[in-house]
């Protein structure tokens, strides 16, 4: 890596006129400014990714523990006591800590892995590289974004070790359960830490999001019109818009909750008798919190999905050697999803006693969102039609992404329809639905991205054999875990139960639960294959020898194999065409890079 940076200095002298961009002169910079407090978007991307991976391991390990409880409620597992100490005395998980684990699993995976770890990584890595910018609009704010995330992570991590345990009211932390210390052990100091951590997370997310938006709008290279941007950038753009518009609402919800918890206000509390006494709170509404929460909570689902959609589009097109089908339709459907994402939040609340009329409006809007989603699926299918498909590891994950997105998306039609939701709400059907669509499917988008852009990040490839093993175990495992869960849900089995054996209606699923747990544990170990592959490949992977290993027309592959801070050594290349020109360039290549000027007589309107 270092030799390229030194080269960068040499080049830097030749084009000092370039708007004073001296980032790549910092070859002698200290380890701390280069790798820790770095302002280079590529390094920040790696920081987000590696922090995300560490959180993902912790979050997934938690799911292993509570799956052990769910699958084998009558057994004891001494190994759990090794890890969890008194929370699992004698190898048997304590119910209170079971709920803490469920809560932390959700919080960690939704926010720390699939929001920060996903869009933090790829927005940072790809936006400047793919639009032709030397860095973000504000590299300093970008650095702050990571460090706020880091501090937020520290708070969340510390909360795992406090005596009364971490927050345990579910990742949605509905009050009054989360507001009253008397209601649950986790609603004590654990919940305070959770709120502090999440508030910092919102700050991080806003700093990042504003940066992504302003970079995309203002810092595109010459010729990079909005309609010449790769779909990854469009997707990351709308992801940032969603975050910037909805996270502040969540923040306001948290502020009110903090007031209710600590300063005696009654925003969410009314008529409560708990711990042997009636509380003075009157006149608040517990449902208000749910509105504020889901006003972020639902866009959040798309904050998680959109980057995966963008990357899958890019990967499917690239490895099929074929332009993405319906580029404009893909953008329009992204816009449709973004707008509708703000108008469907109350479908999480059909059974809260909300007005049935209001409910029916939300049914209509919710099912409307299926239309742009369907358009995207059909466009992906047509993209691979008559392609020349190379089954590289990223391509496998992109195909898996589409498969899972279809499976998980379709079950949304049951839950979005209030008349069906009234029975399925808060059952395992919901668990199966969102794990497939925004859990595993989003992860597949992320994996496709990681395997595809790993060469750009580290100048080496990840190991293919391990990649294929990882892919098949994860895909098969995901279906084995979540497909049968739909049946449990249709049978009315509620989620977030510690033990079902006392229930006449649900105890027949005991053997199924064991099966699911075994599958989940296997999938967990398969993810460790990925982790090993990732970290070992950083240092030992096969080196990238050519500048553009995937034969991609987009700009990030016109940088040096190991780009320094500032990305391009000379001038930033100019762009002449859209990013999906997968056609014969006349020299035996099956693609034309965006930087190639139009040939005489060639019109750009061809797509």
């Amino acid at each position: 890596m270092s030799d390229v940076i030194i080269q960068g200095t040499n080049v830097a002298h030749t084009h000092d006129a370039h708007g004073g961009h001296h980032g790549h002169e910092h070859h002698e910079q200290h380890f701390i400014t280069k790798y820790i407090f770095s302002q280079d978007h590529k390094v920040i991307a790696k920081q987000f990714l590696i922090t995300g991976i560490i959180w993902a391991i912790i979050g997934a390990l938690m799911s292993v523990f509570f799956r052990l409880q769910l699958g084998f409620p009558n057994e004891t597992f001494p190994i759990m006591e090794t890890f969890l100490g008194e929370w699992a005395k004698g190898g048997k998980l304590n119910p209170e800590f079971y709920y803490a684990l469920v809560t932390m699993h959700g919080t960690i995976l939704v926010f720390f892995v699939l929001t920060a770890g996903l869009s933090g990584t790829f927005a940072n890595l790809l936006i400047p590289l793919q639009i032709g910018a030397r860095d973000m609009a504000s590299p300093f704010m970008n650095m702050l974004s990571y460090w706020f995330f880091f501090i937020s992570s520290v708070f969340m991590f510390v909360s795992l070790f406090v005596q009364t345990g971490p927050a345990s009211g579910g990742w949605t932390t509905y009050p009054p359960l989360s507001a009253l210390k008397e209601a649950s052990m986790g609603s004590g100091i654990g919940m305070d830490l959770w709120l502090i951590s999440m508030a910092l997370f919102v700050v991080s997310s806003l700093l990042g999001g504003l940066n992504y938006i302003s970079t995309i709008l203002n810092m595109r290279t010459k010729g990079m019109t909005m309609t010449r941007m790769p779909l990854t950038i469009w997707a990351l753009f709308f992801t940032a818009v969603l975050g910037v518009l909805s996270f502040p609402v969540l923040f306001s919800g948290f502020v009110l909750l903090i007031f209710d918890r600590n300063f005696g206000t009654s925003f969410y509390l009314s008529e409560i008798f708990i711990g042997g006494k009636a509380l003075p709170h009157v006149g608040g509404s517990a449902i208000l919190y749910q509105h504020l929460f889901w006003f972020l909570g639902h866009p959040e689902v798309y904050i998680i999905m959109l980057p995966g959609m963008g990357m899958a589009s890019e990967v499917l097109s690239n490895h099929s050697r074929k332009p993405i089908f319906g580029y404009t339709a893909m953008i329009i459907s992204l816009i449709g999803i973004t707008v509708l994402a703000f108008l469907v939040w109350a479908h999480h609340m059909f059974v809260t006693g909300m007005s049935p009329f209001l409910g029916s409006i939300f049914v209509l809007l919710t099912l409307l969102i299926a239309v742009p989603s369907a358009v995207k699926v059909f466009n992906w299918l047509t993209t691979i039609w008559k392609g020349n498909i190379r089954f590289t590891v990223p391509m496998m994950f992109a195909i898996g992404f589409v498969s899972l997105f279809i499976s998980g998306g379709l079950t949304g039609l049951f839950l979005g329809n209030s008349a069906l939701d009234i029975h399925l709400h808060d059952t395992y059907f919901v668990v199966a639905h969102f794990h497939i669509v925004m859990g595993v499917s989003a992860f597949f988008g992320m994996f496709a991205g990681i395997y595809h852009w790993f060469p750009k990040m580290f100048g080496r490839f990840m190991n293919n054999t391990l990649g294929y093993i990882h892919f098949f175990i994860t895909l098969a495992g995901a279906y084995l875990i979540f497909w049968p869960m739909h049946y449990e849900g249709i049978a009315g089995m509620p989620r977030r139960y510690y033990d079902y054996s006392a229930w006449e209606s649900f105890k027949q699923f005991e053997s199924l639960n064991s099966f699911i747990s075994i599958a989940a544990i296997l999938v967990f170990f398969a993810q460790l294959i990925f982790v090993v592959n990732f970290f070992v490949s950083i240092f030992r992977g096969r080196k990238v020898m050519v500048q553009n290993p995937w034969g991609s027309p987009t700009l990030e592959w016109t940088t040096p194999i190991n780009p320094g801070h500032g990305n391009w050594e000379g001038d930033i290349p100019e762009v002449y065409r859209w990013p999906y020109d997968y056609k014969d360039d006349g020299n035996g290549n099956d693609f034309i890079p965006q930087t190639a000027p139009l040939k005489p007589g060639e019109s750009e309107g061809a797509h």
Binding site: Y174, G353, P356, L367, F391, I422, P484, E504, S505
Partner: protein
């Protein structure tokens, strides 16, 4: 010690897997990348199709294994509608699922890279886009129409002849209140709650409360074929009255009253015959996370004939009688209390 050994073994497995993977990488370089890539490509295409076919078989196996464990026939009138709508939605989504997944895996196999193949430059087609925007839109319109019709039915006002009961959740059990002979439930106030003798905070100044019957064992008695309107409340945190056999569910939120109504159509005894399970019982599950005992917050529903219900009710003593026989002076003291601002039962809060 065994923990250490298993960690070591796991580590060893990873090292071995990694070495094999690394070896295959060297082999690729030795034998020529092109050739290996072509072979890998073919293998992966086949494996994807194999995965798809195995997956379809797996879906069938899963269905066969679990179908007997599903809920019995719906025990409420609208539940029958519910099941019908569920099947329609399942049919629509099932067809879409099969078609799109088949196309996905078939295209992947069919258009795998070969030496001769070149891709077809096909960037857009507005007619196609229009078609596959319209078709889902129409399908959605149909599903929305069916859904809203059923939704309106189940959330409409309860029929006049419906019996009324109140179900109140607390950590971690259900309290059921019947209005007694007068058919009216009296006021209650959370400030009057006392776990010893007034679990619901009934206002003893209100005459309507005198004959109300309270069951703390979580047993909800209903009459078959008679509509029931349930007022749902909570004493502490949010709970949820889940009635899977009746295809119904509603949150119990402190500070507001939510309602549902339905008509049970099958008695518990009859359902024991239908399911062939002599232990069968309708259960009320708490479906909203409410704390450490959430999973044990179980109630039961007993659906019986009018005669059985009347016989059972005749045996019940009013809550007032069973708790307030001795301290009869209590109501007088309450007189000075300020007017209740939070009369939670009579306020209609289904805004």
């Amino acid at each position: 010690m065994s923990g250490l050994i298993s960690i070591l073994l796991t580590g060893l497995v990873f090292v071995i897997i990694y070495q094999i993977a690394k070896a295959s990488e060297y082999a690729t370089i030795l034998r020529g990348e092109e050739k290996i890539n072509a072979r890998v490509n073919r293998t992966m295409a086949i494996l994807l199709v194999a995965f798809f076919l195995l997956g379809l078989y797996g879906i069938w196996v899963c269905h066969e294994a679990l179908i007997d464990k599903m809920l019995p026939v719906s025990a409420s009138e609208h539940g029958v509608e519910y099941d019908r709508m569920f099947l329609v939605t399942l049919a629509v989504t099932g067809i879409v699922f099969l078609i799109t997944q088949t196309i996905l895996f078939w295209f992947a196999y069919r258009y795998q890279s070969t030496e001769k193949r070149t891709s077809f430059f096909y960037a857009h087609n507005n007619k196609l886009e229009l078609v596959w925007t319209t078709i889902p839109a129409i399908a959605m319109a149909v599903l929305v129409a069916i859904g809203l019709r059923n939704w309106m039915n189940m959330t409409s006002a309860a029929p006049k002849e419906a019996m009324v009961v109140e179900v109140v959740g607390k950590q971690f059990n259900w309290i059921v209140r019947y209005p007694g002979k007068d058919g009216v439930m009296g006021k209650r106030d959370f400030r009057k709650i006392n776990d010893a003798n007034n679990v619901l905070g009934l206002d003893w100044n209100d005459k309507d409360n005198m004959d109300d019957v309270v069951a703390q064992n979580g047993e909800l008695h209903l009459v078959v074929n008679k509509p029931v309107s349930i007022l749902i409340g909570s004493r502490d945190v949010i709970h949820d009255v889940g009635l899977p056999h009746f295809r119904m569910k509603m949150d119990a939120v402190p500070g507001i009253v939510t309602t549902i109504w339905f008509t049970p159509t099958i008695t518990t005894t009859k359902m024991k015959e239908i399911t062939g399970n002599k232990d069968f019982v309708y259960e009320i599950s708490c479906d909203q996370m409410c704390g450490k005992g959430h999973y044990s917050m179980r109630g039961t529903v007993i659906v019986e004939t009018q005669a059985e219900y009347d016989a059972w009710m005749a045996k019940q003593q009013s809550y007032y009688a069973s708790n307030n026989a001795a301290p009869a002076a209590a109501p007088a003291a309450e007189g000075t209390a300020p007017e209740q601002k939070t009369d939670s039962v009579k306020a209609i809060t289904m805004k």
